[in-house]
Amino acid sequence: MPVEDAPEPSDPELIERARGGEREAFGFLYRRHQAHVYRFARAMTGSAALAEDIVQDAFLALIRDLERYDAGRAPLRTYLFGIARNLARYKAKGMWRLIPLDHAEEAAGRDDPAATLSSLEEAQHLRRCLSGLPARYREVIILCDLHELDYAETAVVLKVPIGTVRSRLHRGRQLLIERLRRRESLNIVKGCVI
């Protein structure tokens, strides 16, 4: 006789239990959201090591602020994305200082094993171009297009009005298309020379 699975507890319920010190509840929350935070951080920084640090720091912040987290203000994933976004921008500042801008895109691609291993060269190109975008455009594309958050959720993560999300998304996509075009033309020129 098949056993009916109990419905998974909601985030607010798990938060409440974690506040009471129930480690399983916190573990459940972590397993539910960590991959999303990790992928977001990795897309933002282009680095697996930094993404790992960001996931750890974001959840440590959650442990510290369990009492203060208000589920009514933002869903947990949005809240975690907000922390991860701040951490990514902060950590990326230090990283970009050490890498010459001419090689930034290339370095980001090399540091990302998923991109390196990708069988699709276009995907690698896209990833590198995305990594090379200014942070304010990169983050909005990653949140809206890669993670499929809606405008309102993205606005909460970035702490900007919805109109700003729309305009940045539009401008970011245009920049990305321009960069992809430039790279394609470069490849064609390279092919002719060779």
């Binding site: 972590y30 960590q34 991959a35 993404a51 996931v55 442990i63 993670h147």
Partner: protein
Amino acid sequence: MKREDVTPEERELLHAIGALAREDERLAAPPRVEERLMRAFDETHASGVQQPRWLVRHVLKVAAVFVLAVASGYWWSRGAEPPSAQTQDQTESPAVVASWPSSETWAWLDPDPESLQIVRVRIPSAALAAQGYAFEDADGDGLVELEVIVGADGMTRGVRLAQAASVIY
């Protein structure tokens, strides 16, 4: 809603980004991150977040008792009288206190210890000798330099030889 009015180029871009998202689906933080976080969670909840109020209250009580005990012990060991009694005796206190007071007992010498002053005076050694205080006149000028603690009321609280900083009686 958000994908409305996209140009063919943008549509192509979104398609490519969708492929990236599918490629990234297998990515996740390594298990060691979860281990570290669970340890941090355990430590946080074992070491204070759950029981801060009663723990802090107990610590404060113990600290207060400890401070009171140390203070009482100190006064007891010094064999001193409470400040009010000392103030009451001031009118009868002799011009020369038995010893140069330690810095801790200055507060007992005067209700307003900040007003106490140290005055350096030179007294003929012969006059002191006539009172029974014999000092060697080191520089041969017939004078001995003394330091005197004077209160705001003009009464002397202590005296000592300035050169040797030794206590006199």
